[in-house]
């Protein structure tokens, strides 16, 4: 730097710079100048906007590389300046508002409507700034005055300003509470009918904030008739408004049955579906799909939604790129699907669902499968459509990829089970599963970690697959029979244990599945598998016949039926017949001859007949008579047969097989009830009666030739005496 030079040489250059040399006197003069202009430099640094233009201030910066202290402080001091000004203004706002509030309250309550109006405008202005807004929120009286002004005023400006002010404070908890406590909700609900859009928008947004964040608001809005008003607003065309209105409805209706019923009564479903059909704004579609989802769980609104075309309206969006929209539509569809199985023209929906099975999203696949399961339930047309659009292949692919995720595989297996029976293309479907190597992965699902609901569904599917002869080999090769037998034994033991000693509910119905249903399904599957001779031998080798015989004593007709059915197959072979007889089947079968269930009686007759092969002719003759008496008795529920018909002597085995063929094929494709009703769950012991189609009476007639010398005057009781068994 520079320093004061020697006194002896005041003219000597003591400082050198780019401008040349300076003497001592010159330096002193410069210094003085700089001191005098110091405040100007500071002002220039802190408040440059206050300087006059063109003014030149001497600089103390001698080294271009080294900024002066004031220069270094320039930026921080600017920031400090701004902070202080902000503080001043904020404090001003708060102070001002606090002082103004009491006065404003009086003005809002004034008799002169013009005064009220202007006061409302002022409050609105105050509500826009953060500091003054707090003053308003902290004054319950001013909020109450606003609500009153809004409620009682006929002046649009007053209402609008007050509504706007309330809207501004509704973004804060304190404000919400103040509005709620001063009874703002009924007034706001009233404003939902306002013809002034600005007012309406403020009312909707404020109510939305209240519903979201203020406890007690939902009930208050409901009590004030808000639901009906919101439903009315669904007729508007402003997409943002509609999005908020539907969201409000969703908040109000979630978990609240009464709200759903009110929405239904106000015509909500039709308007909501109109929105789904008419708009493309994603947010609106999403919020609407959510309220639809909430409504779709209610048993009263569900049919209304289906009847108003809900399935179609939702199906439109299944290809949308918005995942949240697709999912909400799927959940809603799934909820509705059990009421929608009779809907016509579901083709588009079915197409979309089959496509969605390819999705990577677990939820999407699970939902799609669940919907397909219901849509294919007892609906031939839907079954055919799904098969024709590659549904079988898609479903099997899902099983391949799903692993042990039961939430996916269970509805998929149920759908496959529906698709493999009771429609014109069932055989093709059964065959297709085998063709695409689906059997192995399906059989695998019989094993742990699969739980009982899945196991039950798989057993039913296996039974259907076994109907297709081509599938018998792969079924056997993948170990189906031993696994089924294992499951049968396990479930049978549980049912026996339950009879002998009381068991807990979870023992008898683990995972909510009744073990006697497992027994019935497993035996039913073995029945069809036993058509194949190799399978028959395998089944017999597993020493399971005793259980089959025991099952003949069951109280449940279905169980009797499948047990008699599998024994019928087994007894087709001589060794099998002998084993069946050896296990004491004759007695229970003789009882079952008189069953009110025709299928049970016919099976029983067939087994007895087969067991009688190779016995003395006299024995056979008496048996034939007995069989005739039982099958053709007048008290039989399946009615008298056509005795006048000419019948050819036929092998009973063949007759039996004819019966099986007829039943499998075409004359009874399913139970699409005309009235659309579904039978309610009946107690187990009652099921089976009259649930099934009558056996073709011609088949029964064909059994008569074996009766070469019937004794119609002999009563069944007398004839039964020849049985060498304990009845």
């Amino acid at each position: 730097m520079w320093h004061q030079g020697d006194k002896r040489d005041r003219d000597q250059v003591v400082f050198e710079s780019s401008q040349g040399g300076f003497t001592q006197d010159q330096m002193e003069e410069i210094t003085q100048q700089l001191i005098q202009t110091r405040s100007q430099r500071v002002r220039a640094s802190m408040f440059p906007e206050t300087l006059e233009e063109g003014i030149e201030i001497p600089s103390t910066q001698f080294d271009p590389e080294a900024p002066t202290a004031v220069q270094r402080l320039a930026e921080p001091s600017q920031m400090l300046k701004h902070a202080i000004v902000n503080l001043i203004n904020y404090q001003d706002d708060a102070d001002l508002a606090t002082r103004a509030v009491p006065e404003l309250i009086k003005l809002l309550n004034d008799e002169d409507q013009v005064v009220v109006s202007q006061a409302a405008v002022m409050v609105h202005q105050l509500s826009k700034k953060e500091a003054s807004r707090h003053a308003i929120m902290n004054s319950p009286q001013i909020v109450a005055a606003l609500v009153r002004a809004m409620s009682s005023s006929s002046d649009v400006e007053t209402t609008r300003s007050a509504a706007a002010a309330l809207h501004n404070i509704s973004n804060h908890r304190q404000g919400l509470l103040a509005i709620f406590k001063s009874g703002g909700i009924p007034t706001l609900v009233k404003l939902l009918s306002s013809p002034v859009e600005a007012v309406l928008f403020y009312a909707v947004t404020t109510l939305h904030n209240l519903l979201l964040h203020q406890e007690g608001s939902k009930m208050a809005v409901r009590l004030a008739g808000g639901l009906q008003k919101f439903v009315m607003l669904l007729q508007r065309n402003n997409v943002k408004l509609l999005a908020l209105v539907t969201d409000c409805l969703q908040i109000l209706a979630y978990g609240n049955q009464e709200s759903k019923l009110i929405i239904l009564a106000s015509g909500g479903p039709a308007e909501l579906l109109r929105i789904m059909r008419s708009y493309t704004y994603e947010k609106l579609l999403w919020t609407t799909s959510r309220i639809l989802k909430v409504l779709s769980v209610c048993s009263s609104t569900k049919p209304a939604l289906v009847e108003a075309g809900g399935l179609h309206a939702l199906a439109i969006h299944l290809g949308h790129q918005s995942q949240r929209l697709v999912l909400n539509c799927l959940w809603t569809l799934r909820n509705l699907s059990d009421a929608g199985t009779k809907q016509e023209n579901a083709d588009r929906l079915l197409q979309s669902l089959v496509q969605l099975l390819e999705s990577n999203d677990v939820n999407v696949v699970t939902c799609a499968a669940g919907i397909l399961s219901n849509m294919t339930c007892n609906n031939q047309r839907n079954k055919v459509v799904v098969c024709q659009i590659g549904g079988i292949e898609a479903l099997v692919r899902v099983i391949f990829h799903a692993g042990d995720r039961e939430e996916i595989t269970e509805p998929v297996v149920c759908t496959l089970r529906h698709l493999t029976n009771r429609h014109p293309e069932a055989e093709i479907a059964q065959n297709t599963v085998g063709q695409i190597n689906g059997i192995q992965v399906i059989v695998k699902l019989l094993h742990p970690p699969s739980r009982w609901p899945l196991v039950k569904a798989v057993i039913g599917l296996i039974r259907n697959l076994a109907v297709c002869p081509a599938n018998q080999i792969p079924l056997r090769e993948h170990g189906t029979i031993p696994t089924l037998i294992q499951l049968l034994v396990k479930s049978y033991m549980v049912t026996q244990k339950e009879r002998s000693s009381p068991a807990s509910e979870s023992d008898v119905n683990p995972d909510g599945v009744q073990m006697d249903e497992i027994v019935e399904n497993a035996v039913g599957a073995l029945h069809i598998l036993a058509r194949d001779p190799h399978n028959r031998a395998l089944i017999t080798a597993h020493q399971i016949i005793p259980i089959f015989v025991q099952l003949l004593y069951s109280d449940i007709e279905n169980v009797q039926r499948v047990a008699a059915g599998v024994l019928c197959e087994i007894s087709a072979d001589k060794e099998g017949a002998e084993q069946v007889e050896a296990e004491g089947a004759t007695a229970p079968l003789s009882d079952l001859l008189y069953s009110s269930n025709e299928a049970v009686a016919v099976y029983a007759a067939a087994v007895l007949y087969r067991m009688s092969q190779g016995k003395p002719p006299e024995y056979q003759k008496r048996l034939s008579a007995e069989l005739t008496n039982s099958l053709f008795r007048e008290s039989a529920p399946w009615g008298p047969t056509n005795h006048g018909r000419e019948a050819n002597p036929r092998n009973p085995d063949e007759m039996y097989r004819n019966k099986m063929y007829l039943e499998n094929q075409g004359d009874r494709y399913g139970d699409d009830r005309a009235d659309g009703s579904y039978p309610k769950q009946r107690p187990r012991h009652e099921r089976g009666r009259n649930d099934y189609g009558a056996v073709d009476s011609t088949v029964i007639l064909e059994l008569t030739p074996m009766v070469s010398s019937a004794h119609p005057d002999e009563s069944p009781d007398q004839v039964a005496a020849w049985y060498d068994t304990d009845l």
């Binding site: 002022m122 908020l244 909430v294 769980v297 909820n335 039943e663 494709y669």
Partner: protein, 145 residues
């Protein structure tokens, strides 16, 4: 979910089964938060439409002048001594000194922009002397001298 047994028909196959689903989802109030933008946009739309349809004048007629002065009076009489607040005449009841901080709800009407230079300096000096005691502030005061 509960299973309702479907109708029978073919006595060999197990009957088709309907499943009843009742999935209402979770109470997704959180996801409603992304409607905040929607709400702001809607009220703005309402205001803009209102400006088109309803020309509102903020001019003060007789009773409104009385109102303005009433409010002004209230503010003035409630002013505490020593605060140094000078009631400044503004065209709207509420005027501001320089307002550099953001206005989330939109700006208020035409702010009164008093001359920055002298008013600001005076204000800063007064406030600092009365309230602040940090070294930096003291330094600023010094710089103003």
């Amino acid at each position: 979910m509960p299973h309702v047994g479907g109708g029978g028909g073919d006595d060999l196959a197990s009957s088709d089964e309907i499943k009843v689903f009742k999935d209402e989802g979770e109470e997704e109030n959180r996801s409603s938060e992304n409607l905040t933008d929607l709400k702001s946009s809607l009220v703005t739309e309402g205001e803009e439409d209102k400006n088109d349809q309803l020309p509102v004048s903020h001019s003060f007629s007789g009773s409104k002048n009385a109102l303005s002065s009433r409010l002004q009076e209230a503010i003035t009489t409630a002013a505490t001594p020593g605060k140094g607040f000078e009631p400044v005449s503004h065209s709207t009841p509420i005027g501001y000194v320089v307002s550099p901080y953001p206005h989330p709800n939109g700006t208020i009407g035409p702010s009164s922009m008093v001359s920055h230079c002298y008013f600001l300096e005076n204000e800063v000096r007064r406030r600092l002397v009365s309230t602040c005691c940090c070294v930096t502030c003291a330094a600023l005061c010094y710089l103003f001298e």
